[in-house]
C-alpha cells in the first residue's frame, strides 16, 4: 500500500486495549498548560501556583474515581513504571520481612518481567495458574501464602482476554493475612467501578492513555502509611516519592479523563457491553470453528477475543488492516518471539489456538455500523486465509472421509 493511501484510508479502530484516542474534551483541558500556564509547578511564583492547582485538581479527580485520598495518588510516566515501582519498592523495603511475592501467570509483561528481574536478585515468585476463563482462584491465592510472603499482585482485568479477576476476594485474603495487595488496573481503570477501600487494595497501577487520556502519564495509588522507596530518585516532586519535573499537561489530561470516566461510566459500560456481545454473537454464529477466549460475563465491557482454527492471527490482522480495520492478535508471529501469548497458553489453549487468536477492543464512541463492517471484513479474511490453508484442506478431507 502506498504511503498516501495509508494516510487517507478510512479506518475502524478496534484496538483500544493497546491505546485509546484522547477525548477532545481532555485535549481541550490540556492545551492551556502547553502554552499559557506552562510553569514548573515546583517553582514558587504565581504561574507555578496555577500549574500546581491544576495538578492537584487532577489528583483529586483520579482519587475520587477509586475512592482514594488525594495524597494517595502519585503521578508516574505510565502503567509500566507504576508496576515496576510497586514491585521493586516493596521487595526492597520489606526485605527484612520476607522475599516471597505471589502473582498470576497472566500478568502484563510489566509485572512478569519485573518479577524475572527480582528473581535474579533473590526474590522468590509464585506464578499462579488461572482457570480456562483466565480467573485466578482466591483459595489458591490463600494457599500460596507462606511466612515470607510480602506482596500479592493480581491484575484487575486482563489486557488480552478481558477477564476480570476476583479482586475484592483477594483483597480480603491479603488483609486477613496482613500482606500488601497490589493490582495492575491499567485495563480496568476508568472502565469499570473500582473502590480501593471496599476491595482492600493497597497499591494500584493505572495509565492515562488506556482511558482516553494522553500517553506518558500514569499513577500509582499507594495506601497511606505504606513505606516506599522511589524508583526514580532526584527532586522532591510527589512528596519526594517520584522525582522529575511534573508532566503538567499529562496530569491535567489524565485528571480530566478520570472526571469524564466517573461521570459517564454506567452509560458507556451499557453501550460497550451491547456492542461487545453483538460482535461475539455474530462471529460465533457466522464464522465456523471459532471460539471465545476469556469469561463470558466477568469480562471487560470493551473486550472480544476469539480463536479461529486453521488460520494464523497475524495474517488475519494484516488482511483486516488492509481493509482499514485495526485489531490485535496473540500469535507468536506478532509478538516478536517464537511463542504465542502467555495468557492464551495459561488458559489452556493449544499453540494452534493461540496462534489463531484475534482481539477486538471497542471504545464508547465505537458504532454498530463500525463493528458490523469489522465483522464482515473479519469473515472474509478468515474465509480467504482458510481457502489457502493446508491445515483446513487436511481437515476438510478428513471430514469427507468420515462422512463416507
Amino acid at each position: 500500500m502506498k504511503q498516501d493511501n495509508i494516510q487517507n484510508m478510512k479506518t475502524v479502530y478496534l484496538d483500544n486495549a493497546a491505546t485509546t484516542a484522547v477525548d477532545p474534551t481532555v485535549l481541550k483541558a490540556m492545551l492551556p498548560y502547553f502554552t499559557e500556564t506552562s510553569a514548573n509547578p515546583s517553582s514558587l511564583h504565581i504561574a507555578a501556583k496555577r500549574a500546581r492547582d491544576a495538578c492537584n485538581a487532577a489528583r483529586h479527580s483520579i482519587a475520587h474515581l477509586i475512592n482514594a485520598k488525594d495524597e494517595e495518588i502519585f503521578f508516574t510516566s505510565g502503567g509500566s513504571e507504576s508496576d515496576n515501582w510497586a514491585l521493586k519498592s516493596i521487595a526492597y523495603v520489606q526485605k527484612s520481612k520476607g522475599n516471597h511475592i505471589i502473582v498470576t501467570k497472566i500478568e502484563h509483561h510489566a509485572i512478569i518481567n519485573t518479577c524475572k528481574f527480582l528473581e535474579k536478585n533473590g526474590i522468590e515468585i509464585t506464578y499462579l495458574d488461572v482457570d480456562k476463563y483466565g480467573r485466578v482462584d482466591p483459595k489458591i491465592v490463600e494457599k500460596s501464602i507462606r511466612p515470607g510472603t510480602i506482596l500479592i499482585s493480581v491484575m484487575f482485568a486482563n489486557n488480552e482476554i478481558g477477564t476480570i479477576e476476583p479482586i475484592a476476594e483477594i483483597g480480603a485474603i491479603a488483609k486477613k493475612h496482613g500482606i500488601l495487595f497490589h493490582t495492575d488496573a491499567v485495563q480496568a481503570f476508568g472502565q469499570i467501578p473500582i473502590d480501593v477501600n471496599e476491595m482492600n487494595i493497597d497499591l494500584l497501577s493505572a495509565s492515562g492513555h488506556k482511558m482516553y487520556g494522553p500517553k506518558g502519564v500514569g499513577i500509582l495509588y499507594i495506601r497511606k502509611g505504606i513505606r516506599m522507596e522511589p524508583l526514580i530518585h532526584g527532586g522532591a516532586q510527589e512528596w519526594g516519592q517520584r522525582a522529575g519535573t511534573s508532566n503538567v499537561t499529562g496530569i491535567v489530561g489524565m485528571g480530566k479523563a478520570a472526571e469524564i470516566a466517573e461521570r459517564d461510566m454506567s452509560k458507556k459500560v451499557t453501550h460497550e457491553i451491547e456492542l461487545r456481545d453483538h460482535i461475539i454473537d455474530r462471529i460465533l454464529s457466522e464464522i465456523p470453528y471459532s471460539s471465545l477466549n476469556g469469561h463470558k460475563i466477568e469480562r471487560l465491557p470493551g473486550n472480544v477475543n476469539i480463536s479461529f482454527q486453521f488460520v494464523e492471527g497475524e495474517s488475519v490482522l494484516m488482511s483486516m488492516s488492509h481493509k482499514g480495520v485495526c485489531v490485535s492478535t496473540g500469535s507468536a508471529c506478532a509478538s516478536g518471539s517464537l511463542d504465542p501469548s502467555h495468557v492464551l497458553l495459561a488458559i489452556g489453549l493449544p499453540h494452534e489456538g493461540a496462534h489463531g487468536s484475534i482481539r477486538i477492543t471497542i471504545s464508547p464512541t465505537t458504532t454498530l455500523e463500525e463493528v458490523n463492517y469489522a465483522v464482515d471484513v473479519l469473515k472474509v479474511s478468515v474465509e480467504r486465509l482458510r481457502s489457502i490453508s493446508p491445515l483446513y484442506d487436511d481437515f476438510v478431507k478428513k471430514e469427507v472421509k468420515k462422512d463416507v
Binding site: 500500500m1 502506498k2 486453521f310 488460520v311 494464523e312 497475524e314 495474517s315 494484516m318 488482511s319 488492509h322 500469535s331 507468536a332 508471529c333 506478532a334 516478536g336 518471539s337 517464537l338 504465542p340 493449544p350 499453540h351 494452534e352 496462534h355 486465509l385 481457502s387 489457502i388 490453508s389 493446508p390 491445515l391 483446513y392 484442506d393
Partner: protein
C-alpha cells in the same frame, strides 16, 4: 521503516498471492512446518519430462511473511529446471521481497524447505536422484517440534 515492518512487496504478495491452489496428480508435493509453530507450507510441482517446472502452486498456513515468501518462491521457480529450483535460497527469496523483518527470516527458510520437500517427493516418485538434495524433515504434526528452524 519501523522495526518489524513489512516491505510493500511483502504486503503485495500477501494480499494478492501468486500461484495459490493445488495441482491434482502433481509430480511432487512437499509439506513443511508445524501447526504448533504457527506455519505450514505445502508446495505442488508439475514437472515435465525435461525436468522443467511447468507449474507450481502452494497452500500456506501462517503469518503474512509466510504467505508472501510462498508466493514469491513459487514465482521464482516456475519455468526453471529442477536443478535451478534446488539452488533457490531463502536469501534470494527475501531479497526479491525487498527484505523481511529479522524475526521473520525463519519464514523464508520454510519456503526453501518446502521447495526441497516437493523436489524430494518428485525424485522418490520417479526413482531418480537429484544431486545435492537432502531428505526433508517430517514434523508437520509432531507434538514437540523445533519451532526456531
Amino acid at each position: 521503516m519501523y522495526d518489524g515492518e513489512y516491505s510493500e512487496k511483502v504486503i503485495d504478495h500477501f494480499t494478492n498471492p501468486r500461484n495459490v491452489g493445488e495441482i491434482v496428480n502433481a509430480s511432487g508435493v512437499g509439506t513443511v512446518g508445524n501447526a504448533k509453530c504457527g506455519d505450514i507450507m505445502r508446495i505442488f510441482l508439475d514437472i515435465d519430462e525435461n525436468q522443467i517446472i511447468r507449474d507450481c502452486k502452494f497452500k500456506t498456513f501462517g503469518c503474512g511473511a509466510a504467505v508472501a515468501t510462498s508466493s514469491m518462491a513459487t514465482e521464482m521457480i516456475k519455468g526453471k529446471t529442477v536443478q535451478e529450483a534446488l539452488e533457490l535460497t531463502n536469501v534470494a527469496v527475501m531479497q526479491a521481497l525487498g527484505g523481511l523483518p529479522q524475526i521473520k527470516i525463519h519464514c523464508s527458510l520454510l519456503a526453501e524447505e518446502a521447495v526441497h520437500a516437493a523436489l524430494w517427493d518428485y525424485a522418490e516418485k520417479n526413482d531418480i536422484i537429484i544431486e545435492g538434495l537432502k531428505k526433508p524433515k517430517k514434523d508437520i504434526y509432531d507434538e514437540e517440534p523445533a519451532c526456531s528452524r
